[in-house]
């Protein structure tokens, strides 16, 4: 055998990028399973169709950019982006919504900037925001969860909703974030008594979906796929701000800390979106700051903005700020007393 001539190190650790991506996909499973339980098979159809579209679009982009197709597809990043975006979409979304979302995520947010690793913005969140701004009606049509009276659609109906949307009669219901946002006269206690979709803490079904994503996130944390800094920063700042403005649950209250933690996409965002390393700050300290600022923005947009949920906007805004945060959070190198100027 001809002897290899390579430079050190010769040994390599076990983890590789493909496995990282596969682990992220695996970690979404509990959340997706609970979503399916509460909202029916809509999210599953979203993910299956969305993944196929994303892989096809990634292939086209790689071919046009003359990049190795199979080796790059093997990193699974397109499927991860597709899954994260499809989890964020309302179940029973029409096919064209998914196609436009994937185009924005895979082409606009990722390949226009040079592919995986070069995208300054989180691709899934770019796709989500493009859709939310362009198609607000479709993007806010959430199906009612199990236990609020309506019957859950079957898998066949879910397929029809996706591929023949004109023949599908969607049943929708305001989300818990909407209900609390629109509330003006009732104390939170009275509001919760009146609205079955508010569930126990933060929305029927929603709260359990959030907890399932939390479980997946903690598993990834244990596998050291990311560090605790960004999620803890985000959850801490949301908790602090919501506690500050809780106002004892009066009619002016913006919701309890528990409501904001378990409601909307807080936990999904904290563990699956802001932990995307490509578009976040790079150092641990930087990621703590990055997460905390996202948490603050989420809360501000939720209570003062026009859109009911805010994770996507908050993440994109902080993607802009990540290089700035990096600049001021460079760690102290061994043997240096102060951080070097950049």
């Amino acid at each position: 055998m001809a002897l290899l001539r390579v430079t050190s190190p010769h040994a390599h650790g076990a983890q590789d990028t493909t496995q990282v991506m596969q682990s992220v996909l695996l970690a979404t499973l509990p959340g997706v399973a609970v979503m399916t339980w509460f909202f029916g098979p809509g999210t599953l159809v979203n993910i299956l169709f969305g993944s196929m579209v994303a892989v096809a679009m990634e292939t086209v982009a790689l071919a046009l950019r003359r990049r190795p197709i199979l080796r790059t597809l093997d990193d699974h990043s397109a499927v991860v982006t597709a899954s994260l975006l499809c989890i964020s979409l309302p179940p029973y979304s029409p096919w064209w919504l998914i196609v436009i979302g994937m185009g924005s995520a895979i082409w606009l947010a990722k390949h226009f900037y040079g592919g995986l690793g070069y995208n300054p913005f989180n691709p899934a969140m770019v796709g989500y925001v493009v859709l939310l701004i362009s198609f607000p009606v479709q993007m806010t049509s959430w199906a009612p969860p199990r236990g609020t009276g309506a019957e859950l659609p079957s898998f066949l109906e879910a397929l029809r909703a996706c591929f023949a949307p004109q023949t599908y009669d969607a049943v929708t219901m305001a989300t818990a974030l909407d209900v609390v946002k629109q509330n003006s006269g009732l104390t939170l206690e009275a509001l919760w008594r009146e609205s079955p979709q508010l569930g126990r803490w933060a929305g029927a079904g929603w709260e359990w979906v959030s907890l399932a994503f939390l479980a997946g996130g903690l598993w990834m944390l244990k596998k050291r796929l990311f560090t605790w800094h960004a999620p803890v920063g985000m959850l801490l700042s949301i908790t602090l701000l919501s506690a500050l403005f809780y106002d004892e649950g009066s009619s002016a209250s913006k919701g309890s800390p528990l409501f904001h933690l378990l409601g909307g996409a807080t936990l999904f965002g904290a563990f699956f979106i802001i932990t995307d390393p490509v578009s976040s700050a790079v150092s641990n300290r930087g990621r703590l700051v990055y997460g905390a600022l996202i948490g603050a923005l989420v809360y501000i947009i939720r209570v003062a903005g026009n859109y009911p949920d805010a994770v996507a906007f908050a993440v994109l805004i902080m993607n802009f700020a990540a290089p700035f945060i990096d600049h001021y959070t460079q760690p102290r190198t061994y043997g240096h007393r102060v951080r070097p100027p950049t």
């Binding site: 055998m1 002897l3 290899l4 001539r5 390579v6 430079t7 050190s8 190190p9 010769h10 040994a11 390599h12 650790g13 983890q15 590789d16 990028t17 493909t18 496995q19 990282v20 080796r71 790059t72 990193d75 990043s77 592919g115 995986l116 690793g117 070069y118 050291r224 796929l225 990311f226 560090t227 390393p277 490509v278 976040s280 790079v282 150092s283 641990n284 990621r287 990096d326 460079q330 760690p331 102290r332 190198t333 061994y334 043997g335 240096h336 007393r337 070097p340 100027p341 950049t342």
Partner: protein, 515 residues
Amino acid sequence: MRRIHDFHGGIHPAEHKSDSMAQPIQPAGVPDVLVLPTGQHIGNSALPTVAPGQRVLGGEEIAEADGALSVPCHAPTSGTVLAVEDRPVPHPSGLSALCIVLQPDGRDEWAEPRPFANPMNADPLLLTQHIQQAGIAGMGGAGFPTAVKLSPRPGKPIQTLIINGTECEPYITADDSLMRERAAAVISGSLILAHVLGNPTVLLGIEDNKPEAIAALKDAATGSGVEIVVFPTKYPSGGEKQLIEILLGAQVPSGALPADIGVVCQNVGTAAAVHHAVVNGRPLVSRITTVTGEAVSRPGNYEVLLGTPIRHLLALAGYDASVNQRLVMGGPMMGFTVSDPDCPIIKTSNCLLLPTEAELPTPPPPQACIRCGLCAEACPASLLPQQLFWYSRGRDHERLEAHNLFDCIECGACAYVCPSHIPLVQYYRASKAEIIAQRQDAERAEHARQRFEARQERIERQAREKAERREARKRAAEAKATAATGDDKDSDPIQAAIERAQARKAALADAGSKD
């Protein structure tokens, strides 16, 4: 109990150390030929003092130190010098360098050993000289001349001598076996080094994965004053800067030497070599080398004469070339590949690693950097390896230096953890080389500029002086002319001549009228 400090980052690669620890140290014997490079250390290569055909005795000096930052070479056994010529040497570049080729005669006749009498009461300077003359250079891998580290630096007393028995790289067990079997020599050498340095605190640092060596050292060190400090295993705790942080909680300032904070580090192998040189009067002519990896059937530690071709050791260890995929000198984290098995073992060769493809797979093509940050978590220098990688690809030298590229110790922890298999260290080495070349270019350009300006100034000055001299001459001539006119105002020669002519005419006219 001394407080152990932690350093940032680090990794825990599979150790593979037990493979080569099954047997005690074995002598590698005398090969057919010994190839002794004159540059087995950092600094100036030694200057050969022998000629082809000459017979030498074991321990005889065959090349002398070239200045202070250099050490001599000695014949490892008796024999005849075959040649003094360029041969392939174990170096990452794969280049050849000047070697003394010695054919052993098998008699192993030795020159008279020259032990240093009563070293613990001796003048440190004489001891330092003796250590240099014994050819000792750092045996942990860098090969820095030991005497240089021992030389006193005015105003910078040494408070701590650290003996490095960490051996944190996977696979390597040369120091481990040395400490297990020859702990007394290590401790004796450490005490001699301490005496030379003015008796500082002596700490021998060792990772907790070597219980037998720890027991042997503690036994040997009883009552000696050498403190054996055991700390958790983590790569790269054997790096000089990391070890200082672990034992003392202090960091060596960037760009400074450990001596600047009162610390000197020496490897355990170096300490044992000092013991042999001072107590037994034997120069450094052999070392312990680990031969390991799945491509050898008898991995172990060998006492090898310097200059022994790798080929000889491989045969001893039961090497199967058909399954070997790369030949690494050093460990799997910082070792370099050697392509020629005729390269010799030198003073810094602590390990030969012969892995199979399954053991250390050929690196796959790198994937995109996803900025996961695992590298930053692993970096023992607290650098941001992925940022350095971007800047290295973009050749942004200014940013590279601002992000402290030159504090990278090339330990390989970042590339080890990189899920995208990016050869990060390779990028940093290339960038460092580029920046150094650029600095040298800039220095040369600056030098040329200064020379040009000096020349320009000289030419101008000469021209100016010439012009001034011309001016002065002109002025002098004028002054002389003026002075001449002024002096003979009443006796103008032309006027006088006219007058004389007129007088003559008049005289002639007078004479004519008389006719």
